[in-house]
Subunit: 403 residues, 2 copies
């Protein structure tokens, strides 16, 4: 009998082992935890109890020391953890270090260095182009197929799943308004994304090649890039989104290591334009991921965006982000951009799902164009694992509260 029993088919079985940071009602000390089913293993305490050398990486209040340790250490620690949770002899030692998930508090698992957000779904970019520039012949901007468009967001307002999101106030101006007005956003939206977490830093002046993606990126999480469309529309020309996005970005409490997602790797969609060499992944290993995302508002599923449809991969995004010599730091986070599939039921934002309010969603408690105070948005996802199993991603959830 293994030390910990996880029900057959549980997406958080011993082949998953995502990392988070938690505290308990007995101790407010933050520590690294590893999720197993509906329990959390105190990974640092386990390392200490078993005399593991990895205690120096795991008995810490954030994931940053583990992130900074690099690819070889990540694999070694994962191998050790796999042994701990599967070898029956450890049962007595480790059982007291297992906490029910419902009884712990989960924290932001790492200190975010820089946060960048991309725009990598062709479906999303086409939908946004059609909505905002209905008269344009081509919904994509001329650069879209040549580079993964991105911009920097606010690292200081990245919050962990479960944190309430205060409805932002700001300026907005409808074309019919003579002057801008100020008030709470009336078009508060979501964006379902996948966030990639950088572990290994890189020096200023040294681009990171496509092939080195897995040496630098530790893992991924779900990310909700909350967006105030009315604030964004008035402010974003010419320097891009600012206050329409900077009030909050939610991430899941669990970081899934790339090592847990080997079976989920897929080739990205066929490229329609030739790529410059630093972005050309035709000869690289597949760097897309088959993640099946689900978005629910107040418990009702409203969309199921497939991450496998993303035109630009996380490896291309990292290569682009650094090609000008920009350095990477441990804790850098970058979002994929809104994930939207080709079908209407696969769109990753209310902007697209309601076509900017024209086609409201029907929820049990009424119609929705954009979010109302009290709405709880929850994104979850899973990926194919070995032998038909599923690898679960931690959910990212947040409730909208009035400002």
């Amino acid at each position: 009998m293994p030390p910990f029993e996880v029900p057959e088919g549980d997406p958080f079985g011993p082949n998953n082992l995502p990392y988070g940071v938690f505290s308990t009602s007995e101790s407010s000390d933050r520590r690294v935890g590893v999720r197993l089913g509906d329990h959390v293993l105190d990974a640092g305490a386990a390392a200490l109890a078993l005399g593991s050398p990895y205690a120096s990486l795991l008995a810490r209040p954030t994931l940053n020391p583990l992130l900074a340790a690099g690819r070889t250490a990540w694999s070694d620690v994962r191998r050790a953890l796999t042994a701990w949770v599967t070898v029956p002899a450890h049962r007595e030692t480790l059982a007291p270090l297992l906490h029910p998930l419902a009884e712990v508090t989960l924290h932001l698992p790492f200190e975010v260095a820089d946060y960048v957000d991309f725009y990598a779904s062709e479906n999303h970019a086409r939908n946004a182009g059609r909505i905002f520039r209905p008269d344009a012949a081509e919904p994509l901007t001329p650069n879209w197929k040549h580079l993964p468009i991105g911009y920097h967001g606010r690292a200081g307002t990245v919050v962990v799943s479960g944190t309430d999101v205060v409805r932002p106030s700001g300026q907005r101006k409808a074309p019919s308004d003579a002057a801008p007005v100020f008030g709470p956003s009336v078009r508060l939206d979501i964006e379902a994304e996948v966030g990639f977490v950088v572990g290994t830093p890189s020096p200023q002046g040294s681009p990171v090649a496509l092939a080195d993606f897995r040496d630098h990126v530790f893992g991924l999480c779900l990310l909700n890039d909350w967006s105030a469309r009315d604030i964004q529309a008035w402010e974003y020309v010419p320097l891009g989104p600012f206050l329409g996005k900077s009030f909050a970005t939610s991430v899941s409490a669990w970081i899934t290591p790339l090592d847990a997602l080997e079976e989920a790797r897929v080739a990205p969609p066929r490229r329609t334009h030739p790529l410059l060499p630093y972005l050309d992944d035709a000869m690289e290993e597949p760097a897309g991921y088959d993640l099946r995302i689900s978005i629910a508002i107040n418990g009702q599923t409203v969309s199921e965006p497939p991450f496998s449809t993303m035109y630009w991969t996380a490896a291309q995004q990292l290569a682009h982000l650094t090609v000008n010599g920009a350095s990477l730091r441990t804790g850098d986070l970058y979002g994929s951009g809104t994930v939207s599939g080709a079908e209407p039921g696969q769109r990753g934002s209310l902007l697209e799902l309601t076509w900017n309010g024209r086609d409201p969603l029907e929820l049990p408690d009424g119609k929705r164009t954009y979010l109302e105070d009290g709405d709880v948005v929850t994104m979850s996802a899973w990926a194919p694992g070995p032998d038909g199993s599923r690898v679960g991603l931690g959910e990212v959830s947040g409730r909208v509260v009035a400002g």
Copy 2:
């Protein structure tokens, strides 16, 4: 006789006292220093030698603890430092703690949390509009007079004055090119800016009012927002500048406390449009600063931008930055945007000084449209102090090197 003699008229006299972080050839330990003329006082060692309670803020490797201590502590520490450097009895104690500026190494003085860049000079925005949209009737975008336009930059690539800047590579595409090409930027530019350093944090969901600017902002520095115009032009629609800016941002090694700039406060230019209440500074104390900036390339002055001409003040920028509930962290840095005066000799970028290359500058070693490898760009500034004195800002300098 005071403990330290600073020549009459030196802009780094005892009414200035900017803060930096330095190390010496004897000890690589980083410590807080205060500049006095062409010397640096080891402020933490001084506090320890004099039994000051401020040793806990000054005997540290970065300014962050001092920044986090808040407005009252900033004033108290400044008062103490002023006494130390002016009371003759301290001479014997402090003389050994004074290092010649030429013999120390200066470091990035604080850990940058988030970096935001604004666009607050009307002259600069009009020049940029005329250059990039020559056919438009109005060079300013419709939002420009209603809000201080800004965007997030890359905090991880903020470097201290003296750091070489590697010419970035990236994609560019001239209108006549069929497809983008890749290579080193051929339009590498500068932007002369003033950077504001946040000390006191603010919680998520709580805007910072105009009147609270000085409770949150500790001081300012000079900032060079290096810009690759060709990379920027191809990438920036629709989400703003990214790789055209993210390769490096240089800041001066010295942070001048706002308390040293009381005599330099001036009213901003007359507002031509009514402002929403959160930005309306008509009844506030003047929040502009009369800083006289000078830009030199390879030692030759090419421009003298006056900071007093900025349309949006740093107080308005902070109020705008937080009005959506975005939190502040100790170490947040925000740039004013390129400082350009009304006259051709007051423009803060080569884009404007050479009108995008049309009117090259004449330098002793030849013409310049944009920067060449080996060029050294140095920005310096001073502000009026008490009794006709000058308060110097630390220079920000950087040399362009080939990638």
